[in-house]
C-alpha cells in the first residue's frame, strides 16, 4: 500500500491529469513574484556602495544560476530513477529538464557577462566559476543532442540518463570553484550556515526572485513534461479521447 503512490507516479496519464489544476496557480504565483521582485530590485533596493547600479543584475543572475544547478539535479535524479526502476515518466521529466536547464544556464552566463563589463572591465574571463558554468551549458546541449541521436526512444533515454549522471561531477566543481581557485567571481552571498553578506534591503527582493524562479521552473517543467507525455502516449485511448474533445 505504501508504495502505491510511487507506482502511480510512474503513470503518465495519472501525472497528466493530477498536474492540470496546479498550472494556473503556479503561473499566478511565479509571474507575480518575478514581477514584484524585479520592480523592487530595479527601482526600490538601494544602489551598491561599490558597484553602483550594475549590481541590480544580481536579481536575475543569481536565481537563474540557482535553477540552472537545481535543474541539473532534477534531470540527473530523474534519469537515475528511470534507469533503476525502468519507469517511463522519469525519462520524460529528464528530457524536459534539458532545454529548460540550457536556457537558464544561458541566462546566467549572459547576465554574468554583462555584469562583468562595468564591474571587472571585461565581458569574459576563463575563470573557474565561469568555465565550469560553460561546461554545464554544454552538458545540457549534449543532453538535447543525444535525445535526437538515436532511432529508438529507449536507447536515447538510457544513453542520456548515463550522460546526465556522469555530468554530475561538474556540480560540486561549480559550487566549490569560488573557494578552490582564486577567481574574479565573488564567493556566495547567501549562506545557510552563517550570516549572509548582503543587507536585508537588498536580500528580500533577491529571495522573492529566487522563490519566483523556483515556481516558474516548476511550471515550465510541468508544461514541457505534459507535452512530452502527449507525444509519447499518442497511441493510447486516453490521449485519443483528449485530442478528440479538445478544440
Amino acid at each position: 500500500m505504501a508504495w502505491q503512490w510511487f507506482h502511480r507516479l510512474g503513470s503518465p496519464r495519472w501525472f497528466y491529469e493530477k498536474t492540470n489544476p496546479w498550472l494556473p496557480w503556479l503561473a499566478i504565483v511565479s509571474i507575480s513574484l518575478i514581477v514584484a521582485g524585479a520592480v523592487w530590485g530595479l527601482a526600490f533596493a538601494p544602489a551598491d556602495y561599490k558597484q553602483g547600479n550594475s549590481y541590480r543584475i544580481i536579481y536575475i543572475h543569481v536565481p537563474a544560476a540557482f535553477l540552472a544547478l537545481a535543474g541539473y539535479y532534477i534531470m540527473a535524479i530523474s534519469g537515475a530513477v528511470g534507469l533503476i526502476w525502468k519507469m517511463k515518466l522519469p525519462y520524460m521529466v529528464m528530457k524536459s529538464a534539458a532545454p529548460i536547464g540550457a536556457v537558464l544556464t544561458f541566462i546566467s552566463l549572459v547576465t554574468g557577462s554583462i555584469w562583468g563589463k562595468p564591474t571587472w572591465g571585461t565581458w569574459w574571463e576563463w575563470d573557474a566559476r565561469i568555465t565550469s558554468m560553460l561546461i554545464l551549458f554544454f552538458l545540457y546541449l549534449g543532453m538535447i543532442a543525444l535525445q535526437q541521436a538515436y532511432q529508438h526512444r529507449d536507447t536515447a533515454d538510457k544513453a542520456s540518463a548515463v550522460l546526465a549522471l556522469v555530468g554530475m561531477v561538474n556540480i560540486p566543481i561549480i559550487y566549490k570553484s569560488v573557494d578552490w581557485w582564486n577567481t574574479l567571481h565573488q564567493p556566495a552571498t547567501i549562506k545557510f550556515t552563517s550570516k549572509s553578506t548582503i543587507d536585508p534591503s537588498m536580500l528580500y527582493p533577491l529571495l522573492i526572485m529566487v522563490i519566483g524562479f523556483y515556481c516558474f521552473y516548476a511550471l515550465v517543467l510541468l508544461l514541457y513534461t505534459r507535452a512530452e507525455i502527449l507525444r509519447r502516449e499518442s497511441r493510447t485511448q486516453w490521449v485519443n479521447d483528449l485530442v478528440a474533445t479538445s478544440k
Binding site: 526600490f44 547600479n53 541590480r56 563589463k117 505534459r226 485519443n240 485530442v243
Partner: protein, 67 residues
C-alpha cells in the same frame, strides 16, 4: 522603501549602468517567455496533427492501423 532615483530619466540611465542592466533584464525576460510559450505551442501543434489523423482515420476506416 523609496524610489531610488530622482526621475524616470534617471532611472533609465542608472548613472551610466542603464544599458547593462536593461540589456540583462531584456534578454532574461525574452528567454523566460520563450520557455513558457514553447511547450504550449508544442502541445497545440500535437493536438492539431492528431486531430488531422483522426479525421483521416474516420474518412477511410479500412486503412486503420496501417499507418
Amino acid at each position: 522603501m523609496k524610489f531610488q532615483f530622482e526621475s524616470v530619466a534617471d532611472f533609465i540611465v542608472m548613472n551610466g549602468h542603464g544599458p547593462y542592466v536593461w540589456a540583462a533584464y531584456g534578454i532574461t525576460f525574452t528567454a523566460l517567455i520563450f520557455l513558457l510559450v514553447s511547450p504550449l505551442l508544442q502541445k497545440k501543434a500535437f493536438i492539431k496533427q492528431q486531430q488531422k489523423l483522426q479525421k483521416l482515420a474516420k474518412a477511410n476506416p479500412e486503412a486503420q492501423g496501417a499507418d
